[in-house]
Symmetry: C2
Subunit: 273 residues, 2 copies
C-alpha cells in the first residue's frame, strides 16, 4: 500500500484524456498533473529539447512526492521514457507500449494506422513497438501537426476541426487499415470527428486510456495501490501558462471543477530534484 | 530483450485457457507449461498444501530457465502468489488481480459475481481485490466444486455439464449481477454454457485471458520481451499424470498438436531449485 499520488505530465491539456480514465478506473487514487502549455506544441521540437522539458516536469512532480510517473504524452514518451526510467527511483510509464499492445489485440486484418505529432511519427516508436511483437503487421504512420493546436485553442468540435481532420486523414483512403492508434493524447478530444472520417469499421485506439490498464497492473504488481481506508489526498493540476484556458478545457473534459495553479517550470533547476 | 520462455503452471488443463491467449497475443514468446493433473483438483485442498504443490511446480519451471512465471490457476494464486513472488528472482504473476481489474472496468451496475473453486472463494481473494479498488461494489461469490471435474474428464460440452452448470448458477437468479468473473482457469471451457445460463446481458470475465494483458505490460516494463529476430524456442508441455487425456484436451483447445511429457514433480525436492 502506498497512499501517495500518481503524477501525470503532458505538453498541455492532452494528458487530461489519460487523467479522465484514471478518475474512472482508479477512483481511489490521487492525481497530480502538469501541462507545459507555455512551451507547447512539443511535436515540432527536437527530441533533445523534449527530453530536457520532460525532465523538468518529472523533477517538478517528484518534488510533490509522487509514487508513479505517467508520461501522458506520446512525443515525450518517444523522446524521454528510457531516460526518465533510469533517472527516477519510481515506476515510470509511457503511452506507446500500451497503445501498441491494444492495437495488436484488436486488429484482424493486421493493417494498423498510427497518427501522432511529427516528433512521435519521426521517432518510429510505434512502428518499432508493434513490429517487435508481430512482424507480419503492416503499419501506416501519419504525422498530423495541425491537430494539437485545434485542441489547445478549444476548437476541437468546430467546423474548422472537421475540415482539417477530413483533409489530413485522406492519406488512409486506400490503406485498408482496420485499426487506428490515436498516438497523441490530445486526439481523443477529436475522436468523434476522426471516427466519422475513418468510418465505423475502423477501431480507434486511445493510447492514453489503454495506459491506465498498465498503471493499474503495476500498482498491483508492486503492491503500491492506495489503501481504500487511507486519507484522501486532493488532486492537483498545474500549468506553465495562464490557467484560464486550461481550467475551461479541463473542467469540460473531466466534468469536475478544475482550478489549476500556474507554475514556472522553466526556471526549475534539475539539480534541485 | 530476453529470449527465454514464459512459464505457466496450473493444477491441470485449465491453465491452457491462459496459454491460448498467450499464443494469440504474444505469438513470438515461447511457452513452458506444467499441469499437476496427478494431484488435482486443488480446490478442496488446504491452502498450505496448495502452496507446497505450487512451489514444486515453480521450482520445476525455474530449472527450465524461464524469465517470468504465470500462476495460471486461481486457487494457487490465492494460496501462493505472495510466497512465490518472494521466493523467486523473476516476475511472478497471478490471475486474480487482472480478473478483478477487468470486472471493475466493465461493470456498470457495480454488482459483480465471482465463481471459483472452494479454495479460491474461501480465501476471499477476489472480494478483497475488488473492494480495495472500489468499496461501493457488491460482490457475490459462489464456489462451484463440480465444474473442474467436468472439464478434466473432457465432458465440458456434454448434457451433464449443462445440467450441473444450470443448477449451480441458480444462486445468481435474484442477484442482478451484470458481470461474472470466471475465477478459475478451467471455466472458460464451459463458457458457452455459462453464458447461456446467465443470459446475454451478463459480461463474463475470463481472468486468465486478462492476465496475458498484464504479462505483456510487464514484458514491456522490464524490457524482457523476446527479440523478434531471436531464435524460436519450442513450446513445451508437461503433466504429472498420463499425457493421453492432457494431449487430447490441449490439442483441441489450442488447435495445435500437443505432445506433453510426463514429469514426476512430487519427487522434486525444493532444495534442488
Amino acid at each position: 500500500m502506498d497512499n501517495r499520488a500518481i503524477g501525470f505530465m503532458d505538453s498541455g491539456v492532452g494528458g487530461l484524456t489519460v487523467v479522465r480514465e484514471a478518475l474512472r478506473q482508479l477512483p481511489l487514487e490521487s492525481v497530480y498533473f502538469i501541462g507545459d502549455q507555455a512551451r507547447l506544441p512539443y511535436g515540432p521540437r527536437s527530441s533533445h529539447e523534449v527530453r530536457h522539458f520532460s525532465e523538468q516536469m518529472a523533477a517538478f512532480l517528484m518534488k510533490k512526492n509522487i509514487k508513479m510517473l505517467v508520461i501522458a504524452c506520446n512525443t515525450a514518451t518517444s523522446a524521454a521514457l528510457e531516460d526518465l526510467k533510469e533517472k527516477f527511483p519510481i515506476p515510470v510509464i509511457g503511452v506507446i507500449s500500451p497503445g501498441s499492445r491494444a492495437a495488436l489485440k484488436v486488429s484482424r486484418n493486421r493493417r494498423i494506422g498510427v497518427i501522432g505529432t511529427e516528433g512521435t511519427i519521426k521517432s518510429g516508436a510505434y512502428e518499432r513497438a508493434i513490429l517487435s511483437k508481430d512482424n507480419s503487421v503492416e503499419v501506416f504512420s501519419l504525422a498530423c501537426p495541425k491537430f494539437v493546436p485545434l485542441v489547445e485553442s478549444n476548437e476541437y468540435d468546430s467546423s474548422i476541426a472537421k475540415k482539417v481532420v477530413a483533409e489530413t486523414l485522406q492519406y488512409f483512403d486506400n490503406k485498408d487499415v482496420d485499426t487506428l492508434v490515436l498516438g497523441c493524447t490530445h486526439y481523443p478530444l477529436l475522436r468523434p470527428i476522426i471516427q466519422d472520417v475513418m468510418g465505423p469499421q475502423v477501431r480507434l485506439i486511445d493510447s492514453g486510456a489503454e495506459t491506465i490498464g498498465t498503471v493499474s497492473a503495476l500498482l498491483d504488481y508492486f503492491d503500491i495501490a492506495k489503501d481504500s481506508a487511507g486519507d484522501q489526498i486532493e488532486d492537483h493540476y498545474y500549468t506553465t501558462a495562464s490557467p484560464k484556458s486550461f481550467n475551461q478545457i479541463a473542467s469540460q473534459w473531466l466534468e469536475i471543477n478544475v482550478k489549476a495553479d500556474k507554475t514556472e517550470i522553466d526556471r526549475l533547476s534539475l539539480e534541485d530534484k
